[in-house]
């Protein structure tokens, strides 16, 4: 079979698209956005039910919708988008043909079929087992089968990504090391392989159990292995959205990484330590020792947290250096004040960074502390945390990337540019407030995945304090704001992709392998001089101050929770 060597170069960005890769990136992105649409409608229903004053759905529908919301958002929206990101970071950034497009399509269709089968199982009504599907609570076999098919498809996509790296090296389409963003994507893909393997180890026996071929699934074993899949899949998101931060900083500001060595080492720490986080979910479980819990929940010694704190500094730091070199060098924050706040790619990326760090990161470390977990385990604090990481962090970063991709990948002008300026703020601020008040209610003990916090008609029900109701109400209103932001995103993307004005660019043309070889780089001095910018020998003093503000918030919040823990009943 002849290898497709049709390429086009985007005139405005200089990016090189391989024909099958472009098509696959588009289709994966479209599948992602469709999942986001379905998940978003379900999100609205969940929010309106957990708003005590509205309490929309009956319990059976609530648990069904919550199950589907978790799966469509956490699995289908994010992983479809991540596959698009993987293909982009390999084929496009390395200016290389995509390896085995036929296999990539097989993977894509397996993912589509898996997502459909799983959704059908949930909407039939006999698989309202939540995203986590904890055995011995059982779902319809199709529920597990759908997830397994989806995972096999995603695994194929990961290997197409790795194969593309091999092709790029063999055809010498780049010199030296892969770009930092591709390196981040490699990190995400390695974690994805670990994740999918864990998913197979637990979901295949559970599927066999659901059809009667295995007679017993131990609940602790299930939770331990399932979370190696469930939590690690969130770590793919972290690696992917951090890569997207670097990419958007490069696109919007031409920012160079402050040092490749530091950023790459931080990604490498993710590969080594992120997957231990299965333990975060097992801190309140019997049958595991404290030694096991402490080592794993802290990613050895918070080495993955260290990596995130490093990225949290180097991404804005790189932006600050780029801005200062452009002349915004006055004071601590001129670079930030003069940043393009009306560019939705930038505003989405920056809010993603702030929200992920301040809300998602700090709360995640707090609740991942062995003893502190006792005061938040399974409360609504937990979804508060992960809406800050996965929605503000990952989803918002992906939204920012979409605004960049519409003209270059889909070759369409963006529709509703005025609305696009506001979209990241409406969605991001709505979601941050949503997460914050969820965490507040969780601190007061409000349970997650619970239809009725009023315990209406229950003689033994618990009466939550008025503050808890207030927080749930504000949470729901913030959630509505985020839903509006989500609708804006869908209008802009769907409108632009299908109805936007076409951008005329040179079309695909055949490029022989020898013409695709990257030219030898001109040797450059390694030491990058940042003379004349920054203060006190710090090239990015503003970022450093922001980092210290972050650290102060982190330290205070962390010890406030220890103080709170010290007031509860002694346990040992």
């Amino acid at each position: 079979m002849a290898v497709n060597r049709m390429f086009r170069t985007c005139p405005s960005t200089g990016l090189v698209y391989h024909e099958p890769a472009e098509k696959l990136i588009r289709w994966n992105a479209v599948a992602a956005v469709v999942s986001l649409l379905v998940g978003g409608i379900l999100a609205l229903l969940v929010t309106l039910t957990r708003w005590p004053a509205v309490h929309l759905l009956p319990p059976d529908w609530f648990y069904l919708v919550l199950t589907a919301h978790g799966l469509d958002m956490l699995v289908f929206w994010i992983i479809f988008f991540e596959i698009a990101v993987l293909y982009f970071c390999s084929s496009v950034l390395l200016r290389c043909r995509l390896a085995m497009p036929g296999m990539a399509w097989l993977g894509f269709w397996l993912m589509i079929v898996g997502a459909l089968v799983n959704n059908v199982a949930v909407f039939r009504g006999d698989s309202s087992v939540m995203f986590t599907s904890y055995a011995p609570m059982g779902a319809h076999p199709a529920f597990y089968l759908g997830l397994i098919l989806f995972a096999v498809g995603a695994l194929i996509a990961c290997f197409v990504f790795f194969g593309t790296l091999v092709v790029a090296k063999a055809e010498r389409t780049y010199n030296g090391s892969v770009p930092l963003v591709t390196f981040g994507a490699v990190t995400a893909a390695i974690i994805a392989v670990f994740t999918i393997a864990s998913g197979a180890i637990i979901l295949i026996p559970t599927f066999l159990w659901s059809i009667g071929l295995v007679d017993y699934i131990d609940s602790l074993m299930y939770r331990t292995v399932w979370w190696a899949f469930g939590h690690s899949s969130q770590q793919i998101n972290v690696a992917a959205h951090v890569s997207v931060w670097y990419a958007i900083a490069a696109v919007v500001f031409g920012a160079k990484p402050m040092s490749e060595k530091v950023s790459r080492t931080a990604f490498f720490l993710y590969i080594c330590f992120l997957q231990l986080a299965s333990a975060h979910h097992l801190l309140a479980d019997p049958g595991l020792t404290s030694n096991w819990k402490i080592f794993n929940t802290s990613y050895a010694m918070y080495l993955a947290v260290l990596a995130s704190m490093v990225h949290g500094l180097t991404v804005p730091g790189a932006i600050e250096v780029a801005q200062r070199e452009k002349g915004f060098n006055r004071g601590l924050f001129e670079w930030l004040r003069k940043a393009p706040w009306s560019n939705p790619s930038f505003s989405a990326m920056f809010m993603s960074l702030i929200g992920f760090g301040f809300l998602g990161g700090i709360s995640g470390v707090m609740m991942g502390t062995e003893q502190l977990n006792l005061i938040i385990h399974n409360t609504i604090y937990v979804p508060g945390h992960f809406h800050a990481t996965v929605v503000v962090g990952t989803t918002l970063a992906f939204m920012g990337l979409t605004y960049f991709l519409i003209p270059t990948l889909f070759r369409r002008e963006m529709m509703f540019p005025g609305m696009a300026k506001w979209q990241p703020y409406v969605f991001g601020l709505g979601m941050m407030s949503f997460s914050l008040f969820m965490m507040g209610a969780g601190t007061l003990g409000v349970p997650r995945r619970h239809w009725d916090m009023t315990f209406a008609g229950n003689a033994l029900g618990y009466e939550f304090p008025g503050t808890a109701y207030l927080m749930m109400g504000i949470m729901a209103i913030s959630g509505l704001a985020a839903v509006v932001g989500g609708i804006m995103y869908l209008l802009i993307t769907v409108g632009s992709v299908f109805l936007g004005k076409k951008i005329q660019t040179p079309d695909f043309a055949r490029v022989a392998a020898r013409d695709g070889v990257a030219p030898k780089p001109v040797p450059q001095p390694v030491a990058v001089s940042h003379a004349g910018i920054g203060t006190a020998g710090f090239v990015a003093p503003g970022t450093f101050v922001l980092a210290l503000v972050f650290l102060t918030a982190f330290v205070l919040y962390y010890f406030v929770n220890w103080k709170y823990l010290s007031t509860v009943w002694p346990l040992s």
Binding site: L180, A247, I294, M309, L460, Y462, V526, P570, S572
Partner: protein
């Protein structure tokens, strides 16, 4: 050269920037502090989840709980006649989690220490003591044993905070803590 293009030159020899170097040292120090807080609290703190757990079966755990109820029952409450037990300080207190109730109710004395045994008869449940806000996962097949010392008298609620099916939100009970006699 930026994050989207291959780095030029020997990037791993590029010296660390002062901002990054300083931040890495500070951040790593903070990571170590957070790490050592956990073992520190095991030694000096009072709130640590017990590591003591045994394999059990619904029948075994039911039998032990029934024996406790027979011995220490003081009254019954609600239409379902849920027994309220008041075991003596220091004794073993058993609490069953099942679809969709906690059984029995427990009455403890303020300031006294008890050995609380938790196990599920069927699916996963979540022991959530309110308003104290202590939250513990309850597994079928595992008997989790912890010592607990109620510090304030009052009526507490135990709600289930692990989703356990269609009536999950109805699974609630009480725990009484009375002044020491």
């Amino acid at each position: 050269m930026n994050a989207l293009t291959p780095p030029t030159g020997v990037w791993w020899k590029q010296p660390l920037d002062r901002v990054e170097g300083t931040w890495i040292v500070i951040a790593f120090a903070w990571c170590l502090i957070m790490f050592f807080m956990m073992p520190y609290w095991h030694v000096y703190g009072k709130q640590n989840l017990s590591n003591e757990a045994y394999r059990t079966t619904p029948e075994m755990f039911q039998a032990k709980t029934q024996a406790m109820v027979d011995k220490y029952k003081v009254r019954e409450e609600t239409d379902q006649k849920i027994p309220v037990v008041a075991p003596p300080a220091g004794s073993d207190v058993y609490l069953i989690a099942r679809l969709w109730s906690w059984w029995p109710m427990v009455e403890l004395e303020e300031g006294k220490t008890y050995r609380l045994h938790l196990a599920s008869m069927d699916w996963l449940h979540g022991f959530s003591l309110q308003p104290e806000n202590i939250n513990i996962q309850v597994h079928p097949g595992y008997e989790h044993v912890m010592t607990v010392t109620p510090t304030r008298a009052g009526t507490y609620s135990i709600i289930c905070n692990e989703y356990c099916g269609i009536n999950h939100h109805t699974m609630a009970s009480r725990m009484y803590v009375v002044k020491a006699k």
